[in-house]
Symmetry: C2
Subunit: 659 residues, 2 copies
């Protein structure tokens, strides 16, 4: 039976939830396929996540391997293929709770960096899981800066082998997934030495565990790096190499080769590699970042209409907490952001599909822009969504803090996205470098990519808005964002210029501007996100009910951004204090408007109860019953604690006589 | 041996670390006592936290009970008493990793709410742990709003008993510590009914487990609420009561009593209770919030001078990451905040000691101010420190994400402080209510408490600063904070007034202003924190070296606050955009200045390696060696995984022939 406080929220929806879902999926046919995949996965007990919050790291790993192996069978049984329309929904349906993701990266590395001969040898084995691969790049002492890797691979002409070594502890490979316990092989990145000369970092296929009994190969020291904030199901590992010899053929040699006599030959263009990196950053945004935020919003918003606390009006029953302005202020901007980022993700996908087409025609001109976009949006979206999930967690009070709410694990997992695949600050600085370059070019009248042509024009304007309703006009706020982005890029460019002219050395100049460069890069991405949301809503003309609520969300996203970054808009007087008060008024009005459709807006994300795995967020809103049922299953309730016999009994046993 | 990159940081300290430590402790004698306590605790293997990151919830609970029982022996052995100077250092030395904290609350409730007779009966038993107490207030469906509690206690005149019941699932007690597995007794808060009339919430002592064999008493359903984001060592519990009968004498009756015939008698003043609540909020600030932030800063800053990444100058070795401006921007404001909050904590302690004196003289006039302070600062400090710990964690990249860094558990624990002992938003609104009241009174020429007299004066001023150095003058920035706080309080008061005059109902008016009221309350507390930092530094006149670096930290804390809340200062033109650029310039300059003393500044917090329990933060900076050693101890490395035999072997076993 559905909690009546939740049911009443659904009766007043201003739009068709089913139609919104279909639109978000890209059409009703996609919705159908997605649901079929989810149904097939969730009805299979092997994929159950039911007891996940009670499991140890060992148990989680065990389950993830079981699921990965079972998935192969399942795909065969269902007729799903890696090229089929179902494939992209499988990972979502599993909530990423599966092993051998790095095995896929192992395969991709070989496909991209290996010769045809190497591909022919290794890919069939990997495809059938007749070996388990991993990808060993990061070291204990080295992450982002690839040139700094310390692992060595020395070519021995006499035996035609590479000898791999971990020369010091900071050179130990650290973090690779699937490597701590599962992998039999890995791609090791190491400094290549031939005849004493270093040729830089290259990839080598190294076997690390016996195919006979899974024991470590000679010269290999490897294991699990231990407990982490999340990802208990992944065996992130360490690896030391002590004079490990591999045949010359194991260096991935599509682009560079060491010939039998030690001659180093480089061939072809590696530019496509950079494209692969940018693709990875874009592909994680949806599954690892936006979907978790959508889940967190679903949980927190459903809970907030079921939870009643204090009285809003004297004499009435306690109020739903979502009726408090402060609770709306916590949860509705994250909801609007989830939509905003879903749309920017569509935009990025399109951009990359176009870019991929160009690159296949050997035109690499779009690469810098694609790189800047993938870096900046990866950073912006991961950071924003991580904060938003945190807000959702805290907005649920004590119950949000229970693992059974699902929110702690969403948070501890999403926070990693700020670090992996490029640390956010470093990525934003790469975007900033691109922006500064484009700004300089644009000001010099040179052509720049379409997304940054706006940097060419700086007019010392003021916002023309005269009342709070003017700020519900998309052109008004989009222009404000644009103005702000241009101001930050141009003022930072000016600071760079000033410092150089005052004689500061070039590398110091850059470092002294990095705080502001990061601000500028964020401002650019924020502007593009708002602009894209506006354009998405405009294109929706015919779907009246949906367009109206999307317009409200778009306004809310934009005005919340101005309200919470007021200084950036007030700084040069583009907005006046009085105008900021209008923004605030419209922003607070919008909270009350969007609140009415809050539950239908999260229902449209279409998560099943199993995929939320939350005692607070279920579709029927039976929160308290579920918390109680789940808690009883905890291992902490499975036995009389030995602590009683050991420590408490000796204290308590003669109290009776005194009471 | 000490990592040379860390050693070099210590050689250039601009002040005496030992003298700063003594000053922070409140004198060298306190430092001596603290170190003696830490030494005694850390040298005792029973208190070891060595394998904490590898333990299950059951193991953590077990250890916490063992430690709590052992602590009694230890205190006796060491001659430590609850009134002695050592006592306040014990909890810090244990890092809070101990059971029976709610047993202490149980005792305090009886002491404060119980009659002399009740105290004489229960306190001796509790003191000797001949029963284990808990405190059962919060329910599944009810937290902050005490009047909403649903548990009932009906007086039965025929048997002279109260009959306690959980009438529905939302009335189940939920969260009480020590109750899930340990407690034999608890103080239950329930709605008192006599002859069908409800007299509101009252406290009752209820036995829940047998003193003979620890089984649940008749009518009691209780257990552990399961896994949480942290606090694995605490058995937070649930409790259902089904016609549980307790004698009339078990209602705590210092203030209210039910006489044998059912007559309800209320006596004395309960005002002192409110004071107890405020005391709890203040007392948690130091141990649960500021010390964890100090630990996080110590870990992240030491790591940031040991970790090298990329090149700052071409041709040189890779740079310490703390030399990057963006890393300084992440870590140095939290460091300055740790000092700022340490000083505000001293200020609050003094305020409360004075207040306590007044209250003992039956003068309750200071209560509203104390309540507003304890609420506002509890919220401000917990929120700020939680964000700061999060920043420290992310600033350490992948290694910060490993539990072995110590940072994840600092974060997952401190985040709870935003929720418990009063949810932060609700607390800030209580502070805001006080501020609005004082503002109205002050404007009407009525007397107000000294801390808010500043609200009386509003002059439409502008900041007089003319260059970036002017912003290093404490008067300049303190006035800016003051102006900003007055503006937010007064503009929100005006909005409240306007809405009332426009005919909106009173309760709606308040709700529609809560987002801005929260802002105003934060602004007030932020202003007081800056002002108090400035005054603390001024009093330091004679200690030259220390005063100089404290002045830098004070400036940094203040200017970082302006830089990151620029909109609040620009809004009415108190600061111009040009002045904000000066603030930014001075702020960025300060980062480079404070960076030089960053390691000595965290060394002064004087944490032992055992208390940090971090592979990244040890005094000698041997980060990589320690990560490797600790990882090897993980249970994930203790056995060949059964996943191999079950799932991998069948896949891999015939690969050999193909390679």
């Amino acid at each position: 039976s559905m909690n009546p406080d939740l049911a009443s929220e659904r009766q007043t929806a201003s739009f068709s939830v089913e139609k919104l879902t279909a639109w978000l999926d890209g059409g009703a046919e996609h919705t159908r396929i997605r649901r079929a995949v989810v149904e097939a996965i969730e009805s299979d007990p092997v994929f159950s996540r039911e007891n996940q919050y009670f499991q140890t790291q060992n148990e989680r790993y065990e389950a993830a391997v079981r699921k990965a192996v079972h998935l192969q069978k399942k795909m065969h049984e269902m007729g799903w293929t890696e090229d089929g329309p179902e494939f992209k929904y499988i990972y979502r349906a599993l909530s990423g709770d599966i092993a051998f993701l790095l095995h896929r990266v192992f395969m991709r590395s070989i496909s991209v960096l290996g010769s045809d001969k190497q591909i022919a040898k290794w890919i069939p084995l990997a495809t059938q899981y007749q070996l388990i691969g991993s990808y060993a790049q990061t070291e204990l002492g080295h992450g982002t800066y690839l040139q700094g890797l310390e692992t060595t691979a020395v070519f021995d002409t006499t035996t035609q082998e590479f000898i791999l070594n971990t020369p010091k502890i900071s050179a130990m490979k650290w973090w690779p997934g699937d490597m701590g316990r599962s992998a039999t092989h890995t791609v090791v990145f190491a400094q290549l030495y031939v005849h004493g000369k270093c040729y830089g970092v290259h990839p080598f296929i190294v076997q690390i565990r016996s195919l006979q009994d899974h024991s470590l190969c000679p010269g290999i020291i490897a294991g699990d790096i231990g407990p982490k904030m999340n990802f208990e199901h992944i065996d992130n590992g360490y690896l030391m190499l002590q004079n490990v010899r591999i045949p010359r053929e194991n260096m991935l040699n599509k682009f560079c080769e060491v010939q039998p006599d030690g001659t180093y030959v480089s061939q072809g263009s590696q530019k496509i590699n950079y494209f692969t990196m940018t693709t990875v950053r874009i592909s994680l945004i949806s599954d690892e970042v936006i979907i978790p935020l959508m889940k967190a919003c679903t949980i927190a918003i459903r809970y907030s209409v079921v939870r009643r606390q204090s009285k809003l009006k004297p004499g009435e029953e306690e109020a739903k907490i979502l009726d408090y302005q402060t609770q709306q202020e916590k949860l509705l901007p994250p909801l609007a952001a989830a939509y905003a980022f879903h749309f920017i993700n569509n935009y990025l996908q399109e951009l990359f599909n176009r870019g991929y087409g160009e690159i296949q025609r050997k035109n690499f001109d779009t690469l810098p822009e694609l790189h800047a976009f993938s870096s900046g949006f990866k950073a912006l979206v991961t950071q924003y969504c991580t904060s938003a999930v945190d807000i959702c967690l805290r907005a649920c009070g004590g119950h949000g803090y229970s693992l059974l709410s699902g929110l702690p694990s969403l948070y501890t997992k999403i926070v990693a996205s700020c670090i992996y695949e490029g640390e956010n600050t470093i990525l934003l600085l790469q975007t900033a470098r691109f922006l500064i370059k484009c700004f300089t070019a644009a000001r010099a009248g040179q052509p720049v990519p379409p997304s940054v042509t706006y940097l060419a024009a700086v007019k010392p304007e003021k916002c023309p808005a005269k009342n709070k309703l003017d700020f519900l006009c998309p052109e008004t706020y989009t222009k404000a964002y644009q103005h702000m982005a241009v101001r930050l890029v141009s003022s930072t460019a000016a600071k760079l210029q000033d410092l150089i002219q005052s004689g500061v050395k070039k590398h110091d100049v850059w470092n002294q501007c990095t705080v502001q460069l990061v601000q500028a890069a964020k401002a650019h991405c924020h502007y593009i996100t708002v602009k894209n949301f506006v354009e998405t809503v405009e294109k929706l003309e015919t779907k009246a009910g949906i367009q109206k609520i999307m317009k409200h969300l778009c306004d809310l996203f934009a005005l919340h951004g101005i309200f919470s970054n007021a200084g950036l808009f007030l700084h040069d007087g583009y907005l006046s204090g009085a105008q900021m008060d209008m923004v605030t008024a419209s922003y607070l009005d919008l909270l009350a408007v969007v609140r009415k459709d809050a539950v239908p807006l999260v229902d449209a994300f279409d998560f099943t109860d199993k995929s939320l795995n939350s005692a607070l967020g279920s579709y029927d809103g039976q929160v308290y019953q579920r918390l109680y049922e789940w808690a009883q299953k905890s291992p902490t309730n499975k036995q009389m604690s030995p602590a009683y016999e050991r420590y408490l009994k000796p204290l308590l046993h003669n109290t009776l006589s005194k009471l």
